[in-house]
């Protein structure tokens, strides 16, 4: 059996592990446009911060590929899938044939049209290791950085560069930062915190054009800058599958076994859709744990096993400097809140279940809440008075506690 994987990050790695849990011998080839072993993409801001050394950024130990008998083609871009011939065409002109193919190409930056953008010399995305390296080289203490996008990618970049440059200004069309992850109250806490660290925000505004070293905003405001970081948004990278005739919605359409609409082609990770248990719909849930679950599921099925991805839940664990933020699920239903200073906690209960939360500050044991969201545990089965104050296992019944703490799990 010949397995080919396009892309080489978390979903790809999990796919390798999934395949090898079923098939120890089949031939696995990874085609990677990037020139280094797999790494978790979110790591790039931490490398920039100096939180971990570059050589420790690999997602798996050095011997991983050898141990799993994987042929890794680094620095090779796949340019076409011929689903009839069951071959992947590479930029170099050579072809790689497959029996089972995984597309785990992640996402690519989305850049809206802005006049004069092509003339901006120092502009960067912040998605890949190479992006991070080239941005790092451009930074210096006298540079003013303009970041477009106050989402996760933009703000993690800000954290990584804040103490290395003269100033950082973030522009976002949304009226608040992290608008896809946080509600108003929590967003304003994080914004104030980042402002105290010297970050400037221009919200509810967008860049119309660039001229010289200036950005002209819709509001008429002008922002001078030296370095531009583009973090407006991302789109699933599905061009190969689309061109091959595979069904695409926003991301690659897959079933619960991670099969695309084309025979023997699977998709997993940020390029694929999947069931979102919180939204009760199929959609792209571009979070890292999902890529790991979907990739593994795809791998098992590619190798002839039987596995289903029964759905994911939105989850975010974010740190900015020493401030920690955790969110899960959806912010619907009845909200109970406990807010004091920089500590922020909102729990959302709907139809007798915890469906989501936003927590800033005290993050101890938060996973106990996440489990309630993930499993849809009826709150009538636990002592919610205890649990709503603090995530504790003692809120479970004696029988449940015994299951959790005295059995193999």
């Amino acid at each position: 059996m010949k397995y080919v994987i396009i892309g080489n990050s978390v979903a790809a790695t999990a796919c390798i592990e999934g395949i090898r849990s079923v098939d120890k011998e089949g031939e696995i080839t990874v085609v990677s446009a990037e020139n280094r072993p797999a790494y978790g993409r979110p790591l790039i801001s931490y490398i920039m911060l100096g939180r971990i050394a570059e050589q420790n950024a690999d997602y798996r130990p050095k011997e991983f590929y050898e141990k799993n008998k994987v042929n890794v083609m680094l620095g090779q871009r796949a340019v076409k899938i011929d689903a009839g011939k069951k071959a992947v065409l590479l930029e170099s002109g050579s072809e790689v044939f497959y029996d089972k193919l995984l597309i785990s190409t992640g996402s690519r930056p989305f850049v809206p049209p802005m006049e004069g953008l092509d003339k901006v010399k120092d502009k960067f995305s912040f998605m890949t290791f190479d992006d991070m390296k080239s941005l790092s080289l451009a930074l210096s203490e006298e540079k003013r950085v303009l970041v477009l996008g106050a989402g996760l990618i933009g703000l993690k970049c800000v954290e990584g560069i804040a103490d290395k440059v003269k100033s950082v200004t973030v522009v976002d069309l949304a009226p608040r930062i992290l608008s896809s992850v946080l509600d108003e109250g929590s967003s304003s806490i994080v914004q104030k915190f980042l402002e105290e660290k010297g970050v400037n925000f221009v919200l509810g505004d967008s860049v119309l054009s660039f001229y010289g070293a200036n950005a002209r905003l819709k509001s008429g405001k002008e922002l001078p800058f030296d370095i531009l970081v583009l973090a407006v948004g991302v789109r699933p990278e599905v061009s190969l599958l689309k061109e091959a005739g595979g069904e695409i919605n926003r991301g690659a359409v897959v079933n619960e076994r991670m099969c695309t609409s084309l025979p023997d082609i699977y998709a997993a990770g940020d390029c694929a859709e999947g069931y979102d248990k919180s939204a009760h719909a199929n959609r792209v849930l571009a979070i890292l744990p999902n890529a790991a679950f979907q990739g593994r599921c795809a791998g098992i099925n590619m190798a002839g096993g039987d596995d289903v991805f029964d759905g994911g839940t939105p989850l975010n664990s974010l740190g900015f400097f020493e401030l920690h933020i955790m969110t899960a699920g959806v912010y619907e239903g009845e909200c109970s809140e406990d807010i004091s200073g920089r500590n922020y906690k909102k729990l959302f209960v709907k139809e007798g279940k915890l469906v989501g939360f936003i927590i800033i500050g005290d993050i101890r044991n938060v996973g106990i809440y996440t489990a309630l969201v993930r499993e849809g545990t009826p709150l009538s089965q636990i002592d919610w008075r205890i649990m709503s104050k603090c995530p504790l296992l003692s809120a479970y019944s004696a029988k449940e506690r015994d299951e959790k703490l005295n059995k193999g799990v």
Partner: protein, 148 residues
């Protein structure tokens, strides 16, 4: 693999296990020397109490399908061949996704806030066997062959 299990009917909530855990991982030569060091070193086991005189200790369950391992953005968490969940501090970036996903509250930020920490059954210190189990005066924490 041998795992830690807790007997809540034997636990008085004395929290000696928390101290023994800190001591085992402190490198100190006497437990009393932890005095004044709270905050510099944190236990990897935590005791829960509730008003109905219920107490029990919680530390890593070393889950077979460990969600923390799958969710780790850095590949810092992994499973050994025996099944123990281990963390590589040099790889951990301190994003605490593991804290967000652990259903037991059994992985936590280390004292410096820059990496996570968790129970590795005292294989990462000089004790060789779980110190919390060894010194629990009531037999409320046991170390036994798993898959009960």
């Amino acid at each position: 693999m041998k795992r830690i299990y807790v007997k809540e009917n034997r636990c008085l909530g004395c929290r000696l296990c928390e101290w023994e855990c800190m001591y085992a991982n402190s490198g100190l030569d006497a437990m009393f020397k932890l005095k004044g060091k709270q905050g510099e070193i944190l236990p990897r086991i935590r005791v829960e109490d509730n008003p109905e005189d219920i107490h029990f200790a919680v530390n890593c369950r070393h889950c077979k399908q460990a969600i923390c391992v799958k969710s780790c953005i850095a590949g810092a968490l992994s499973k050994t061949d025996e099944g123990m969940v281990v963390i590589d501090k040099n790889k951990c970036v301190g994003c605490f996704t593991c804290v967000l996903v652990c259903p037991y509250g059994a992985i936590m930020p280390a004292a410096d806030g820059k990496a996570a920490q968790k129970c590795m059954l005292c294989t990462d210190n000089d004790r060789g066997e779980p110190n919390c189990v060894k010194y629990c005066p009531n037999g409320a924490i046991v170390f036994e062959e798993g898959d009960l």
